[in-house]
């Protein structure tokens, strides 16, 4: 038995036993033997998974979960992927061989698809592969990211998402590291007095837009941000949300009209006339962003920045939003 699976903290959970019928069924369906696991090792993996989520029981200890409850809980998980991941995390050689045989090439292709570049994709995939193999140590302990895989989705999907996280984090970490010359070479905004936004209307518009956007629901915010800020296409948003493209279009149209109406009402509440409110809506947020860039400082707080309105820096941590959802 690998040393990782014989951790001392597993001793209290060892009292929780998996129903023999469930264990037998999962043993065959998960091809645990192909992963080089023994039956006690496989049972230990199942106990840790079930105890980690309390067998999806709202109340009561996990040790009292009946066989049916255990079977229902395991039925919601990708047990084959989960067992393989846990076996790899336990440094099982046969499990790693199986993992490489199954996911090496898909991981490489996913890296290239995410980065859009073969070399970058290969570099990204190799970096994750090394990390998965447990080459990184923390506080003297070998940490394998595969331990965070809980089997709610497919293992390959988890790997892609992890690759995307690595790629986005690296990009967000490095995209600001630009030479000064490049920043200075940016063209100055065109000085067009006719299009210069009214300084008195900007704070009012900023406040009205913030109120209107904050009053929208979570999905409406996601739609607005994905479409107007990220520039995602309708079919991409529809694929993520699992709805039809026309549904996204219809919702976007409705949300846009509602936000516009609320902004106009907010401006009227702030003392602007109807015509002045309509004129204030004609301000192009891109001009405001350019003006903010040209200042080179963050002092232009009076300018309207829709991106900041939608992406509040004081966003609540996901842990507080998620509530009972366990995150790592």
């Amino acid at each position: 038995m690998p040393a990782e699976l014989a951790l001392p903290d597993l001793a209290p959970h060892a009292r929780c036993e998996i129903a023999p019928a469930v264990l037998d069924e999962l043993w065959h369906s998960c091809e645990a033997e192909a992963c080089g696991l023994t039956r006690p090792e496989f049972e230990q993996i199942l106990v840790r998974i079930g105890m980690g989520q309390n067998f999806a029981l709202a109340t009561g200890p996990a040790a009292e979960a009946a066989g049916a409850q255990q079977a229902a809980f395991f039925g919601t998980l990708r047990m084959a992927d989960l067992v393989l991941a846990r076996a790899c995390a336990a440094a099982n050689e046969r499990a790693w061989e199986r993992f490489i045989a199954l996911y090496r090439q898909p991981l490489l292709r996913a890296g290239m698809a995410i980065t859009g570049n073969e070399s970058l994709g290969r570099e990204l995939a190799d970096g994750l592969y090394a990390e998965l193999y447990g080459l990184t140590d923390r506080e003297g302990e070998r940490r394998c990211p595969l331990e965070s895989y809980a089997g709610r989705g497919s293992l390959i999907g988890w790997l892609r998402t992890t690759l995307a996280q690595r790629h986005v984090d690296r990009h967000r970490r490095t995209h600001r590291e630009q030479p000064l010359e490049e920043a200075n070479d940016r063209p100055a905004p065109l000085a067009d007095a006719a299009k210069e936004p009214d300084a008195t209307a900007l704070p009012l518009l900023s406040g009205a837009a913030e109120d209107a956007l904050q009053s929208q629901g979570p999905e409406e915010k996601f739609l607005l941000a994905s479409y107007y800020l990220d520039g995602r296409k309708l079919h991409e948003i529809a694929a993520v949300l699992g709805v039809h493209e026309a549904t996204v279009s219809r919702k976007l149209k409705r949300v846009t009209a509602a936000v516009r109406k609320q902004i106009v009402r907010g401006l009227e509440r702030r003392g602007l006339s109807r015509g002045a409110a309509e004129d204030a809506l004609a301000i192009d947020p891109r001009d405001l962003t350019a003006a903010d860039r040209s200042s080179g400082t963050h002092e232009a707080h009076d300018h309207l920045r829709l991106k900041e309105l939608l992406q509040t820096s004081q966003a609540n941590p996901f842990k507080e939003q998620a509530g009972p959802i366990k995150t790592k």
């Binding site: 898909p106 292709r109 996913a110 698809a113 995410i114 990211p145 965070s148 895989y149 809980a150 709610r152 989705g153 497919s154 390959i156 999907g157 988890w158 892609r160 998402t161 992890t162 690759l163 995307a164 996280q165 790629h167 986005v168 984090d169 967000r172 970490r173 979570p218 999905e219 409406e220 915010k221 996601f222 607005l224 941000a225 994905s226 800020l229 990220d230 995602r232 991409e236 694929a239 993520v240 949300l241 699992g242 939608l310 992406q311 509040t312 966003a315 941590p317 996901f318 842990k319 939003q321 998620a322 509530g323 959802i325 995150t327 790592k328």
Partner: protein
């Protein structure tokens, strides 16, 4: 900013992957969506993972798609209901187009079948003039029955009841079969020449009314009248009716190259005197057996579209437009817009002003109808004799059903408004001067003239 180091800030890969794969329950899903509405990083991770999954999706090579119906089949199935009325509409439009674009039948056919409005012969007596009252009244012919048609079956009994030809009709061009002819449709192709002119009169300034009563010009080659009249139209001179004795072939050759047949057969007396009858029976081509005639030909009116055009567009010496005109033979009279009268003897080639013998301005000039033309007494008597001889033989021929019977039918009766000297079998009353032209002034006075130059008030 590593999510592994800040796990509370962003959902981990397990949650985001479950969100991408739609494996989250609704509450969890709503929480992830709410987070992504404000987190650009997680939105980007999700969209990138989704894009990578779509790129990784294996092509469905092993799955053979069902054969989809073609576009045409889909369109037909979709618009099947609309295709039915569309096809019906297209068919209707095609029929309408075919009817509209179909070449019109020759006018000659219409002229042969169009019945000519019959005119009762009693009209002259009903409206007697000064000349008619002095002359013996013409024998009134029975009024044609409207039920009579020009069918051969109906023609047969009518021919059996042929009445003796009135002497008064001899000069007007009516032969012994005149009663039957009045009940028949006017076959313009072989109707006795000038019969339609009798109906139409010679009032050239009433062009529309006169021409409306005239049937369309025939196109049959056996129309001897056309052959005699066409040179007169083309040359402006009336040719002697010697061509009446020509064979159809000769006449066909004589008129070769003339596309438009002359609308008016002028020389009716030449044919009437010869008393042409159809020799052939059945569907054979009509040939006329024209007997030599010694009838002295009377001057025939020059009429028709060509003359009307000449008179209308005459270049008068005054330079003014023609407001009224009349023609008789080669003699043309024209009234210009100033009220002056002009005279031409060469069919409008040369004009000379007529000295005003009336007061006021001339506003109209009229030519008399054909009935006023006269034969010499000897010629009329000889013509009548020949008509009485040939008529029985002709009647025997016509008694048989003959599709060409209508071709040889006599002309319709003369017009009712006959004015001028009465014509009798013995000729013209010498006490009555021949009146050819009428002139109406702006003072509503009527002046008459025999030659168009010397006028006297009526």
């Amino acid at each position: 900013m590593n999510p592994t180091t800040q796990p509370d800030r962003h959902p981990d890969a397990e949650i985001l992957n479950a969100f991408v794969e739609h494996a989250l329950r609704d509450p969890e899903r709503a929480q992830v969506v709410a987070h992504m509405g404000e987190c650009a990083r997680c939105r980007e991770v999700v969209f990138l993972a989704r894009a990578a999954a779509e790129a990784e999706a294996p092509p469905l090579a092993g799955i053979k798609p069902e054969p989809r119906p073609g576009r045409i089949a889909l369109a037909l199935a979709k618009w099947r209901v609309a295709l039915i009325p569309a096809a019906a509409l297209a068919a209707t439009g095609a029929v309408v187009l075919w009817v509209q674009l179909r070449p019109a039948p020759p006018r000659a056919e219409m002229a042969q079948t169009a019945p000519l409005p019959a005119r009762p012969m009693t009209a002259p007596s009903a409206a007697p003039t000064a000349h008619q009252t002095s002359a013996p009244a013409a024998t009134p012919l029975p009024a044609p029955s409207p039920a009579h048609r020009s069918t051969p079956s109906e023609q047969r009994p009518e021919r059996k009841n042929v009445q003796p030809v009135s002497p008064a009709l001899a000069g007007t061009g009516f032969s012994g079969s005149a009663p039957m002819a009045r009940n028949q449709a006017v076959p313009a192709a072989t109707a006795p020449i000038g019969s339609s002119r009798v109906v139409g009169g010679y009032h050239l300034d009433a062009h529309s009314a006169a021409m409306a009563r005239q049937p369309a010009p025939p196109e049959q080659p056996n129309d001897s009248a056309d052959m005699a009249y066409e040179p007169a139209l083309t040359n402006g001179l009336l040719q002697p009716p010697g061509t009446a004795s020509m064979t159809p072939a000769a006449r066909r050759g004589a008129t070769a190259g003339k596309a438009a047949p002359a609308p008016v057969p002028p020389n009716i007396l030449a044919v009437q005197g010869a008393n042409a009858v159809p020799v052939s029976d059945g569907p054979e081509p009509l040939t006329l057996q024209v007997e030599p005639s010694s009838v002295q030909l009377a001057p025939q009116p020059l009429n028709g579209l060509a003359v009307m055009q000449v008179a209308r567009h005459a270049k008068l010496p005054s330079g003014l437009n023609t407001v009224s005109s009349a023609a008789m033979l080669n003699t043309l009279l024209a009234v210009d817009s100033a009220g002056a009268l002009f005279f031409s003897q060469d069919a409008g080639k040369h004009w000379e002003a007529v000295r005003p013998q009336w007061r006021g301005k001339a506003i109209a000039v009229q030519a008399p109808p054909q009935g006023l033309y006269q034969l010499t007494p000897a010629a009329a008597a000889e013509s009548l004799d020949r008509a009485s001889i040939v008529a029985p033989a002709a009647q025997e021929k016509r008694a048989r059903p003959n599709v060409n019977a209508a071709v040889s039918s006599p002309p319709p009766p003369p017009p009712a408004h006959v004015s001028g000297p009465a014509v009798t079998a013995t000729g013209v009353d010498p006490s009555i001067p021949a009146v050819l032209f009428k002139l109406i002034t702006d003072r509503h006075q009527t002046w008459i003239s025999a030659d168009g130059k010397v006028w006297r008030e009526q």
